[in-house]
């Protein structure tokens, strides 16, 4: 099952501040919803255990998250692979950063493929839930930066 989502966050902070934040796995980990446990492996990699409750698929999923910033500082890819309970999720979230006055605009786009029992839960349920998790992540990024701004 392949899914796609996109969205935009307007963050009242400078682009450099936003860029530094999203490139820091420790900080980013605090923005992931439902995280039960996380550990930073290196400057670009973290592992997170996330609670999942999608219909009959209930339990913990373990993800490896790799940050791949583009050298020009305008684009970041976040690759998330993992799963649990016999299911596998492969997700890529890409974020483009641009400046609009004092605001940094974060345009994000995400694609995911899911396999195993999670794929049978039904497209609409997963679609809504996964969309919520991803938009929540970027919204949390905005909230954290807005609070510190």
């Amino acid at each position: 099952m392949n899914l796609e989502w996109s969205g935009q966050e307007r963050i009242p902070a400078g682009r450099d501040v936003v860029w530094a934040f999203v490139n820091d796995p420790a900080k980013l980990a605090t923005c992931l919803p439902e995280v039960q446990q996380s550990s930073v492996l290196d400057a670009h990699t973290l592992e997170a255990t996330v609670g999942v409750a999608l219909g009959p698929v209930r339990g913990k999923f373990k993800f490896k998250i790799v940050l791949e910033p583009r050298a020009d500082g305008n684009h970041l890819d976040m690759k998330i692979n993992g799963g649990g309970l016999g299911s596998v999720v492969d997700l890529v979230a890409g974020a483009d950063l641009s400046t609009d006055g004092a605001t940094t605009v974060l345009d994000w786009k995400s694609t995911a493929s899911m396999r195993g029992p999670i794929a049978t839960v039904g497209g609409r349920v997963i679609d809504a839930q996964a969309h919520r998790v991803i938009s929540q992540t970027f919204e949390n990024v905005k909230n954290r930066l807005s609070a510190s701004a």
Partner: protein
């Protein structure tokens, strides 16, 4: 003694005797596989691939081995080292991986097994077996497979997904007859992938006794003797050291014919560890890995005259077999009995072909409550005839009547090579039309159509082919498809009856006793029937493909007659008459011309042990291995009446009548029960069930929330009746019935819905006819642009 109108005066046959097995089933005292617990038993859980197609890069057992209670983790590599990684499939064309080795070829394929001291510990261990996969693009439908852009089986020499081409009939003659036809129809008719989904899933308890060197395997098996031979061939363990016991089985429907990886892994674990190992699959494992049914994509073409006489039939089929060719078909018949596709109609010429392909889906293609591929064939021809009737603007019952094989044509050689034994199709259809009030229903339909209401009447006048089979044509693993019976009559006139079949709810413990009781004049209540234990039952090919009554039923009757021959000698001795003067009449031995002088079989049985004639060995028992001379051809007329809701697509099956002709009926109550069950399955196939895969190869129907089983709420009320046309070659004239309702009903439902939608111009919708599909068809047909266009 009971007299039935159809069968004449009978002692035990034709009697609606209550099922002897039911008291234990109703009271929860059956003994099913999961009821078996042996001392020191370990439990097996399996690890499944989340990917439909992936290379296995590594399997790390360490985390699983660290789980408390886990004793062993078994992988395909371990099995390969023991030369147990590949299993032969039943017809011998292909082999099947036990555990994914090198590559996983379908989602949920078994990748490793974890053996532990409890079911929970095994499941916990399976959860943490760390398998590293390299995902590959999957092949998810047979048309994609045909392109060979991705070839999934790299273990085979042939670098193609094509498995086989099979054909029957006269290709050239059929082509020219079709070309010359005044009227011609062509439709792609799909019999979608579905699953038998028995309520009891599959399971095994393997018990290797290292002291005796004997391996006892309790398994949910429809064919325990064949499984014993298969286990011996695969493992090299001598067949006398293998004891298979199939305990009470909670439904099989063809699903419990193949050998599954769980059976093998549990057995290997027991052989290595030397303690019993149990594996019972989950519902999801049953639906995602064990034998599915159908998945036949059939292009059906019929030629006819303008008046409605059929002139030719051609059916070209693409079959999706999944990752291995594990279809349980007889060796010489890769597409089973698909040649029955001419159905009840007298086609002057016909041609059928099947091309089968591998895909990244679960393997199977088993005979789900039908003789091999008969449901698919019957669906194709009955839908085709309906579509032809509409094109010709003929009443579908009239078109069928015009083209039926006539009573006087039997034995009827079909253009696709079978010889139908007996039938009177026109008589049976007439009876069904009269009972349902066909003409009145057509009038009602015309009135409703005038008001814009959608009412439909669907007919199916199917012919089945069952009872495989003649050993010269049919074998499994090279073993001829005979069956067997062994009868021992005790001194007091009761007895034990054993057969090579294995019932899964069909009622053999009752019907077999009735056959023997009828033949010997004994009380069926005093005849104990035993099946399923390879140490005690005579060798048989098992129960599937409606073969039990046609084949084992024949063996039972003929073994009884052997007993009667010996009994006659003893009777002559008791009656002090010459054997030539003794006759079997009214269920007793008497002396010709001497009324009142007779002995019963009970008296003879006592004498067999206490007072046998001087030249006769004591005892009263016989065995018979019956290889039938032909198949049997049960048939019937089914009629469905439906109302379709224009706004929601909901279909209400208002009436459903099944008039079956299965030859001589042994127990009318059991036959009626069989028909109710099969119709309910046919209803489910028509309206609710499909094993669907998405474009990524994900199985979308992995439990009963997604794969629906009709309850009493959805199931229509069934009306049943019968006609009796005995099989001329079967020892008691019986044909078998268990599968007729499953084979004959789906097309009656679909024909009814298509008849309801006919005023909108809808010709065909593939099963299952869900509300959504029906609603979409109505919406698409009634859109303003559709009307204008």
């Amino acid at each position: 003694m009971t007299t039935t109108a159809e069968n004449g005066p009978r002692h035990a046959i034709g009697v609606a005797m209550k099922r002897k097995e039911d008291p234990r089933f109703i009271r929860g005292r059956g003994r099913y596989l999961d009821d078996i617990t042996l001392p020191g038993m370990l439990y097996l859980a399996l690890v499944h691939s989340p990917y439909p197609h992936a290379r296995i890069k590594s399997i790390d057992k360490s985390a699983a081995m660290a789980v408390p209670g886990v004793k062993a983790v078994i992988t395909g590599e371990d099995l390969d080292a023991a030369k147990l990684e590949w299993l032969p499939t039943f017809h011998g064309y292909d082999k099947q991986m036990v555990l994914a080795f090198g590559k996983a070829l379908y989602q949920y394929q078994e990748v490793a097994g974890v053996v532990a001291t409890s079911r929970e510990a095994a499941a916990d261990g399976a959860e943490v077996v760390d398998v590293e996969y390299e995902p590959l693009d999957p092949v998810v439908n047979p048309y994609q497979a045909k392109e060979d852009k991705i070839v999934l089986r790299d273990d085979r020499d042939a670098k193609t997904n094509h498995i086989y081409h099979w054909e029957v009939g006269d290709k050239a003659k059929t082509q020219s007859a079709l070309d010359a036809s005044e009227v011609r129809i062509k439709e792609r008719i799909v019999s979608p992938r579905c699953h038998p989904a028995p309520l009891e899933p599959c399971g095994v308890v393997a018990d290797m006794n290292k002291a005796t060197g004997r391996l006892t395997i309790y398994m949910t098996s429809q064919a325990p003797h064949v499984h014993r031979t298969a286990f011996s061939l695969v493992t090299g363990i001598p067949e006398d050291k293998i004891h298979i016991i199939s305990p009470d089985v909670g439904g099989g429907f063809g699903n419990k014919v193949p050998v599954y990886p769980g059976y093998v892994v549990a057995t290997v674990a027991s052989v290595i560890i030397g303690v019993p190992v149990k594996w019972v699959e989950t519902r999801t494992e049953n639906l995602t890995t064990t034998g599915f049914a159908r998945d036949y994509h059939m292009d059906v073409e019929i030629g006819a005259t303008k008046a409605g006489t059929v002139t030719a039939l051609r059916v070209s089929t693409v079959a999706d077999h999944g990752a291995f060719d594990a279809a349980a078909d007889p060796r010489k018949y890769p597409a089973g009995m698909f040649g029955i596709v001419t159905g009840s109609y007298d086609f002057p010429t016909a041609f059928a072909e099947v091309d089968a392909y591998f895909t990244n889906k679960a393997p199977g293609g088993i005979a789900y409550r039908c003789s091999f591929r008969v449901t698919e064939a019957s669906f194709a021809i009955e839908r085709g005839m309906e579509i032809l009737a509409r094109k010709l603007e003929l009443d579908p019952a009239e078109l069928r009547r015009m083209n039926f094989v006539k009573k006087e044509q039997f034995p009827y050689p079909s253009p696709l090579g079978f010889t139908y034994d007996s039938g009177d199709y026109a008589m049976t259809m007439r009876k069904a039309l009269d009972i349902i009030g066909y003409e009145q229903l057509r009038k009602e339909q015309a009135e409703k159509r005038a008001r814009g209401e959608l009412m439909g009447i669907g007919i199916s006048t199917f012919t089945e082919i069952v009872g495989a089979g003649p050993g010269k044509q049919f074998d499994i693993l090279g073993i001829k498809m005979f069956d067997s019976a062994e009868i021992r009559i005790h001194p007091t006139g009761s007895g034990i009856v054993r057969a090579g079949t294995r019932h899964q709810g069909q009622g053999h413990e009752t019907t077999w006793a009735q056959i023997v009781g009828e033949e010997l004049g004994l009380d069926p209540q005093e005849l104990l029937v035993e099946e399923g234990d390879t140490d005690t039952a005579p060798y048989g090919l098992g129960t599937y493909a409606s073969r039990s009554t046609p084949v084992a039923g024949g063996a039972l009757a003929l073994a009884s007659r052997r007993i009667r021959e010996k009994a006659k000698k003893i009777a002559a001795h008791l009656l002090e008459a010459s054997e030539d003067d003794v006759e079997w009449k009214d269920y007793k031995f008497g002396v010709k011309g001497v009324p009142g002088k007779s002995v019963t079989m009970k008296e003879v049985a006592f004498a067999a042990y206490t007072n046998p004639p001087p030249d006769t060995e004591p005892g009263l028992e016989a065995t018979y291995y019956y290889d039938p001379p032909n198949l049997t051809f049960p048939y019937g007329t089914y009629i469905a009446v439906v109302d379709v809701d224009r706004d929601t697509g909901a279909v209400n099956v208002r009436r459903f009548l099944a008039v079956d002709d299965c030859g001589i009926v042994i127990n009318p109550m059991i036959v009626e029960g069989q028909i109710h069950g099969g119709l309910t399955e046919g209803f489910a196939m028509a309206f609710m069930q499909e094993i669907k895969y998405d474009e990524g190869g994900n199985n979308l129907n992995t439990d009963f929330t997604e794969y629906l089983i009709p309850t009493a709420l959805e199931t229509p009320k069934w009306e049943t009746d019968s006609t009796v046309t005995p099989s001329p070659h079967h020892p008691i004239g019986a044909k078998g019935v268990g599968e007729s309702p499953n084979v004959g009903s789906p097309q009656a439902f679909v024909n009814a819905v298509m008849d309801a939608l006919a005023p909108l111009g809808v010709t065909h919708i593939d099963m299952p006819l869900t509300r959504e599909k029906v609603w979409r068809a109505i919406r698409d047909a009634t859109r303003p642009e559709a009307v204008e266009g």
